[in-house]
C-alpha cells in the first residue's frame, strides 16, 4: 500500500525501473545476450552498431577483438550490481552500528567515533581507494572492501545525527521509564525510526559504489581483465575512440543511467519519506 504510493513519485518510479533493468541484466545475462562476452571474432572487429547502420547481428557493434559490445555490457551489470549491493550493505552496517552507538551513548564514545570519522573523511577517497586496492591486489573483493572502508563514514555521520535527534524525543524517555535497557531501546525503538533514512542512504550509496567500481576497473584494479566491467570497457574503448566511438559511449551511457537512476530513487524516497515535506 505504502510502497505503491511511493511508486507514484516519478523519480522513485524511474529509479526502480533502472534498478529492475540492472537486476534483469545481471541475473539473466546468459539468456539475454546471444553472444559470449569473451568470444573473439577477429574477422568482425570494429563492427559499427546495428542501430547506427552497421550489421544487425551486433546491435551495439563489436570491439577490437570482435567481441559483442551488448553482451559485454549486459555481463558488465553483474560486477556493478554485486559491488553496489554488497559494498553498500556492509558500509551501511558498519556505519549504522557506530552511528547508533555514538548518537545514543554520547559523551566520550561519541567524541571518539566522531573524531575518527573526521580524520577518516579528510583522506581523499579515490586516492585511498587506489592505495587500498594496490595493497589488497586486484579483484572484486578489493573493490568491495575499499568502498566499505571509505564510505562507512557517510552512514555513520547521518545515523549519528538522526539518533541524537530521535533520542531527544519523548518516546525514548518513555522507553527508559518502563525499564528498557539501552541496547533494547536502540534496536527496537530508535532503529525503526532511522530505517527510512537508511534506505535512502543505501540507495544513494549504491550509485556511488557503481561509480567507484567503474573507476577502479578503469585503472585495472577490479576484476581480472577479460571479464567485462563497465569501467574496463571504457578503458579499452579509450584506445580506439577515434575509430569506434561506441566502444566508449555505450558503457558510459550504462554508468550514467544506472547512477542517475539510483540517485533519483534515493532522492525520490527521501522526499516521499520526509514527514515534513509529506504534509
Amino acid at each position: 500500500m505504502k510502497a505503491l504510493a511511493l511508486l507514484r513519485n516519478p523519480r522513485v518510479a524511474f529509479g526502480m525501473l533502472v534498478l529492475l533493468a540492472l537486476f534483469i541484466a545481471a541475473a539473466g545475462a546468459p539468456w539475454l545476450s546471444s553472444y559470449d562476452p569473451l568470444e573473439q571474432d577477429l574477422l568482425n572487429s570494429f563492427q559499427s552498431p546495428g542501430v547506427a547502420g552497421g550489421d544487425d547481428a551486433h546491435p551495439l557493434g563489436t570491439d577490437s577483438l570482435g567481441r559483442d559490445i551488448l553482451a559485454r555490457l549486459i555481463y558488465g551489470a553483474r560486477p556493478a550490481l554485486i559491488v553496489a549491493f554488497v559494498a553498500a550493505f556492509f558500509a551501511g552496517l558498519l556505519g549504522t552500528a557506530l552511528g547508533l552507538a555514538a548518537g545514543y551513548a554520547g559523551g566520550r564514545l561519541d567524541a571518539a567515533i566522531s573524531r575518527l570519522v573526521d580524520v577518516w573523511m579528510s583522506f581523499p577517497s579515490v586516492l585511498l581507494c587506489i592505495v587500498l586496492a594496490a595493497v589488497l591486489g586486484a579483484g572484486l573483493h578489493t573493490v568491495v572492501i575499499a568502498i566499505i572502508v571509505i564510505d562507512w563514514t557517510r552512514f555513520c555521520r547521518v545515523v549519528r545525527a538522526e539518533t541524537m535527534l530521535q533520542k531527544s524525543h519523548d518516546y525514548v524517555a518513555s522507553a527508559v521509564t518502563i525499564g528498557l535497557g539501552p541496547g533494547r531501546i536502540v534496536a527496537s525503538e530508535i532503529l525503526p525510526n532511522v530505517a527510512p533514512l537508511l534506505l535512502t542512504l543505501f540507495t544513494l550509496e549504491m550509485g556511488i559504489a557503481i561509480v567507484v567500481e567503474a573507476i577502479l576497473s578503469f585503472v585495472g584494479l577490479s576484476v581480472s581483465s577479460g571479464m567485462p566491467t563497465w569501467g574496463g570497457l571504457i578503458q579499452e574503448g579509450r584506445l580506439y575512440v577515434n575509430q569506434a566511438w561506441w566502444l566508449m559511449a555505450a558503457p558510459m551511457a550504462c554508468i550514467i543511467v544506472a547512477v542517475l537512476g539510483l540517485n533519483a530513487l534515493g532522492d525520490g524516497m527521501r522526499d516521499e519519506i520526509d514527514p515534513v515535506k509529506a504534509r
Partner: protein
Amino acid sequence: MSALLDIRDLDLWLDARPPRRLLRRVSLQVAPGQIVGLVGESGAGKTMVSRVVLGIAPANTRVRHGSVVFDGRDITHLSEAQRRHLLGREIAFIPQNPMTALNPVERIESQITDVLRMHLDLDRAAARDRAATLLREVHLREPEKILRQYPHELSGGMRQRVLIAIAFACKPKLVIADEPTTALDVTVQKQILQLIRELQRNSGTAILFITHDLGVVAKLCDRIAVMHGGRVLESASAAQLFASPVHDYTRALFAATPRFDRPGDELKPIPAALTRRLVEEARVLDARNA
C-alpha cells in the same frame, strides 16, 4: 505511617561555569496510596524532582546532597541495571505530551506488551490479552482494534489513555505524572483526571502529580507541596493548604488564579517584591550550602 517515597534535603546542581543550583534542599514525602500534588510555576524545579526520582536527570546534573528513599531503599545512586528493574514495575511514569511519548513507528500492542513482557515474564499471547484488558480498564473502546493501530491513528486523549495503561500495567507502587493533562484540551483533561483517580482508587497506587494547575490539585490531591526556585516553600494537606496557606508565595499563587465561581475578581500577579525576596533567600541559602 512510613512514607513510600521519601525525598530528603535533595540538592541538584547543573555542571556549568559557575555551577548552578537547580534544587535546594527539597524534601517531599509520599505515603502509600496517597496522591501528592507538586505545584509551582515554570522553572520551579517540579520536573527536575521527578527526573531525579526516576533517575533520568540530564547527564550534566549532579545530586550533591540528600537522598531519595523508595520503599525503604535508597535509590539516589542506583546502577543502571538496578534502576531498570525498578522502573516500569515499581515506579511508573505518565509523560506530559501524549503526542510525542509513543514511538511513531510501533503498533500500540508492542508498546504496551514491551513493559509487560519485560517485567512480568508473560509470553506473547498472554501479554496481548493483558494489554487488551488494560485498554479496557482505561475505557478505550474496541481494544483489539487499537492494539493493531499506530499512534498517529489515535487522538491525543486516546494516546494519553494508552500511556496511562502502560504506566499502570505492572501495578506499580508509585506513579509519577508530569503534567499529564497540560497538552490536552479542557474536556479531555477532566476525563483523564477522573481516569487517574479511578485507577488510583482501584489499585491503591501512590501518585506524585506534577502540575501548575491549582484547580487540578485541589480536586485530586491529598497533600500539596508548593515549589518555587528549586525550593519547596510549603507542604500541607490539600484542605489545610487551601483553607490557611502559610507562605506568602502560596497566598500570592492563590490570588493569581482565576476563579470561575467569582468572575468579577481582579487577578493579582505575583508581586515583584515577593519574587525578589525569594531569589534573595535562595542566594543566602546557596552561600550557606556551597
